[in-house]
């Protein structure tokens, strides 16, 4: 079994080397870029030596960090101590965990290592990321942390029921059916026009467009890399998402932690009936590149499947967003009026909006933090009011029911404050356990 709970552990001894390796890669990219731009700037030997020195320094610093960092798992919390000059001791209460991620950047994967990231409410960034641990240590730690919230011992671990597996073809197609296709369709006529007017200019014109287009392509490519082989499984610890081709990531969302869910249906996906599902947990901070990697619950799937999954995640069927907005709302939202709908039952609020991309927001009433009504000058003139439902998520901060009739919105607000109170009372009892 696992060692005694009060044992202090160190990170994996390869950690300093790995950090040094990352610095070296970064430097190589930087130098490469500069070299491309300037041709002959600095002497290669000088640059090489400098890079080596910086890398050696990074390894040295990494070694000191590794020597001074230790962690241990007790029955109720994870304790991490680090720092040489300024000691930092951090305690993460396990009952407050919002999600646990195991991330394996490509360079760590080669070495058989992984990084453990914990999310708790209010953390500006991931609380106490443990980088790097041996793969099996990370798995064991995650299991122990998630299990500590439960009383009973989990018997079988192999019964992870895979709910959805996203086919690679659909993922690639869905990534292409976005900006890459739209921009290609926009640029092609330009290119043809230039070729017709001034054939000589066509080749340099095309060559100038190519890097811009490559950038668009790279964004789509990155999405495919991050969401490659996306699978959603139901485990006793909660929902487990696995994805990534080079850097892989395993996210575990314990039951009852989802703050809001959003279904996106871009215009170009409609012929296939595809939707993308995004989910927000209280801990995730909106941080640049990781944002897209962590927000998807399902990168692309047929609508029926997506709705079934959302129902499963939130526990129970969803109300249909059926109530339309008044006819006069077209003066305020001429393009999206038909799509503005809202639906409410005892446990969830569902709203839809969007012009090109149909967006459906689902908020569990037990997670609602506050309710707001706003009416801008135009809306007041038309007797319309927008209802906002705020949740603790950063990326999907709740739902909005746009441009409802003012009296209806006031009634809806009353009804919602009653139902959220009831849902909250139920919610204080620990969420349903499998």
């Amino acid at each position: 079994m696992s060692p005694a709970p009060d044992d202090w552990h160190r990170l994996h001894p390869l950690t300093p080397l790995l950090r040094g390796g990352r610095v070296l890669l970064l430097l190589a990219a930087l130098v490469g870029q500069q070299g491309l731009r300037q041709g002959d700037g600095l002497r290669p030997a000088f640059v090489g030596l400098g890079s080596l020195a910086v890398t050696a320094l990074a390894v040295g610093v990494g070694y000191v960090v590794w020597r001074t960092t230790r962690y241990r798992l007790t029955a109720t919390e994870l304790q991490v101590e680090s720092g040489l000059l300024k000691r930092r001791s951090r305690r993460v209460p396990l009952a407050r965990l919002q999600s646990v991620d195991v991330v394996r950047p490509i360079i760590a994967r080669i070495a058989g290592l992984a990084e453990l990231r914990l999310e708790v409410v209010g953390g500006g960034s991931s609380e106490a990321p443990l980088a790097y641990l041996a793969d099996e240590d990370a798995q064991r730690l995650r299991r122990a942390m998630l299990a500590s919230g439960r009383e009973e011992e989990v018997v079988a671990r192999a019964d992870d029921a895979v709910l959805v597996q996203v086919p690679t073809g659909a993922l690639v197609a869905s990534a292409l059916l976005g900006p890459p296709l739209v921009i290609a369709l926009l640029l092609l006529p330009c290119l043809v026009a230039v070729a017709l007017v001034a054939p000589a200019a066509a080749v340099p014109f095309g060559a100038a467009l190519l890097p811009a287009y490559a950038g668009v392509f790279a964004v789509a490519g990155r999405r495919v890399l991050a969401e490659y082989g996306f699978s959603v499984a139901e485990t006793p610890d909660g929902l487990r998402l696995r994805h990534g081709l080079l850097d892989t990531r395993t996210q575990t969302i314990p039951p009852g932690r989802v703050q809001a869910v959003r279904l996106l249906e871009p215009l170009l996906w409609r012929p296939w009936g595809w939707v993308r599902v995004e989910v927000d947990v209280a801990g995730y901070a909106g941080r640049g590149e990781e944002q897209s990697a962590t927000s998807a619950l399902l990168p692309v799937a047929p609508r029926q499947l997506a709705e079934a999954l959302v129902g499963r995640v939130l526990g129970g069927g969803l109300p249909v967003a059926a109530a339309p907005v008044p006819e006069r709302a077209r003066w305020r939202a001429p393009l999206s009026r038909r799509r503005l709908r809202a639906g409410l039952d005892d446990r969830h609020l569902v709203t839809t909006s969007g012009v090109l991309t149909t967006t459906t927001d689902v908020v569990p009433l037990a997670k609602v933090q506050s309710l707001r009504l706003t009416a801008g000058p135009w809306q007041q003139r038309l007797g319309l009011t927008t209802l906002h439902v705020d949740t603790a998520g950063r990326r999907l901060p709740g739902a909005k029911a746009h441009h409802r009739d003012a009296a209806e919105a006031a009634a809806l607000l009353d009804e919602l404050s009653r139902r959220t109170r009831a849902a909250r009372r139920l919610g204080t009892v620990p969420a349903t356990r499998p």
Partner: protein, 155 residues
């Protein structure tokens, strides 16, 4: 929602708002008009008229905005309403309160008023009540803190 009793901020808030109008709008405007005298009497008069008109508009809208503020303590939540151009109404359940701030600037302190700000785990819920008499602000803060503790719910 007609049944609850709305309470209003103190008149001191209006004094502060008016002072801000005069300080930020009328004073620079007058200085500018004085400077415009160098260019000519007509220019100076025009600048003065514009200043007076703008200050008048600002004073009227400050008064209207002050009138729009209101808050109501219900059994389970606090309502805050505000705004003229954009009307807003916030409902914050006591159980969702993370912490309560009471702040008062130098002018506020002189007039004995303070602002109470409610914070929940959601960044978007912006319930803030300015211009409360200091005693009322303290009472509200303590009551909110006590109620928040009694009805606390997990995130």
């Amino acid at each position: 929602m007609a049944e609850q009793e709305w309470r209003r901020p103190d008149r001191g808030l209006l004094v502060v708002r008016r002072a801000q109008c005069l300080l930020l709008l009328a004073l620079p405007g007058l200085l500018l008009s004085g400077g415009a005298l160098l260019a000519g009497a007509v220019e100076a008069l025009a600048a003065l008229l514009v200043t007076v008109a703008l200050t008048g508009i600002a004073l009227v809208s400050a008064e209207r905005r002050w009138c729009a503020w209101g808050y109501a303590e219900r059994d389970d939540d606090l309502l805050v309403r505000r705004g003229v151009l954009v009307r807003r109404l916030s409902v914050v359940p006591y159980g969702r309160l993370q912490y309560v701030d009471v702040t008062a600037g130098p002018l506020d302190r002189r007039l004995g008023i303070a602002r109470v700000t409610l914070h929940t785990a959601a960044a978007a819920s912006d319930a803030s009540i300015p211009g409360l008499p200091a005693a009322e602000a303290t009472r509200l803060r303590d009551r909110l803190a006590a109620l928040g503790e009694a009805r606390a719910a997990g995130v």
